[in-house]
Symmetry: C2
Subunit: 266 residues, 2 copies
Amino acid sequence: MEPETLFHGEVSRRGLLKTAAGAAGIAALTMGGMGLFSRAEAKGGATEKWPWPYVKLDPEKTAELAYNEWYRVFCGAAVINSVFSQLREKVGEPYTSFPSDAFVFLEGGMVGWGTVCGSNAGANIVSNMIIGPRIAGPECENGAAIGADALLWYSETALPTFTPKEPRQKAKIIQTTSNSPLCHVSVGKWMKESGYALGSPERKDRCARVAASVAYKLVRDLNDWKDGTYTQKSAWKPASNIGITAQQNCSECHGSNVPTPPMAKK
Amino acid sequence: MEPETLFHGEVSRRGLLKTAAGAAGIAALTMGGMGLFSRAEAKGGATEKWPWPYVKLDPEKTAELAYNEWYRVFCGAAVINSVFSQLREKVGEPYTSFPSDAFVFLEGGMVGWGTVCGSNAGANIVSNMIIGPRIAGPECENGAAIGADALLWYSETALPTFTPKEPRQKAKIIQTTSNSPLCHVSVGKWMKESGYALGSPERKDRCARVAASVAYKLVRDLNDWKDGTYTQKSAWKPASNIGITAQQNCSECHGSNVPTPPMAKK
């Protein structure tokens, strides 16, 4: 985070949006599936005016969608599609033009490298696409705030919290707390405690339920934001608090207790 | 990665694209700034046909753009904009409708949490938006491959490799090798070796140059892909190699040599 470089004295886009020129922009955004953007607007660009129109969604329905989408597009794109597929129907543009399926690469903590869990990345993409980036004005800072809340909630919560109506796996899926937003740590702790391997159907169903759990929590926050009742929960400001970008669980890596990697089953 | 669930027997979208219906899709994609997508197509959706039209770019110019964009939108969005701003000019849609600026949240390893470096996330977004996700067909697998190459190259290379023509900071910016795609590790090692704090102008310029370096490498790979000469460099397949999603530097966390966090200057 670079709070000191916020805005650079530039004119807030939200401010512009409130002017007559902005009214045309809103009209373009709410034209539903037409998506008729002029070149000049698009360069601006037409989808880069925030917030995007949002209507409140049912968290339960969203979670079910995310669960099932996981089996098609995996964690990151499942969270995105669980929200955007509904908004494509209810709102239209700019959701129809957003290439959600291209985010399959978020799987496995980004092409399998175990960095940030794709569900967390997906939640941040959704909140920041809808509400906007902080450089677009103070009204848009809740995009990053809801994203940060997702990282914290994911780290602190025994996951998965959501059980689908028709689970594809009937085995008990245990809950574990990752203390981390990283795929490697989250999946690793669950594998160790459950005894299931990465390639097992149970591990996959666990991750599908985690994506669903994150989507559920995300939509609750977005609905609160729409109602004007959202307040940020996460107070973790590593740049100003500890002088480096970081997770909140320092001693879990910087300590004597880093787990020996088990000879994992494949 | 879930190689065994590839395609699920669905029809390849690339295959569809080669049909007459696909020709209409290509026409829609190449209409430049018009972006006239019908609702039915958009639901499909119109930007979810791959590959997106790509013209070869100058790596040097792209890196200069990324360097300067860093000071406006930070690492992730800087890499995206360095490529997409040129393609908005040269191609038009679907680049004009992609909300690049919303990806500011990738800064600091995602809202400051130090997970995957935003430059790496940005590179993966660019390659996967252009070439497509692996579920769209075998021709699209190079999107993830170029993304994985970015993670590996970033980890193994003494960064930054790129020096802008007009650097904002005149101090010598040293190069360090992260052995990791994570912001926390990459920035932390550079801070430790250079002695500069996170909030220093030098650290910021270092990160701007890292974004530029990643953009340079990314465009070289995309140009090779366009020429049909791209081959994947990274052979790291953690799911099948070691049975868990992971980086390639296991012993750096799972060992006795994890650095004690210094009392960092702010």
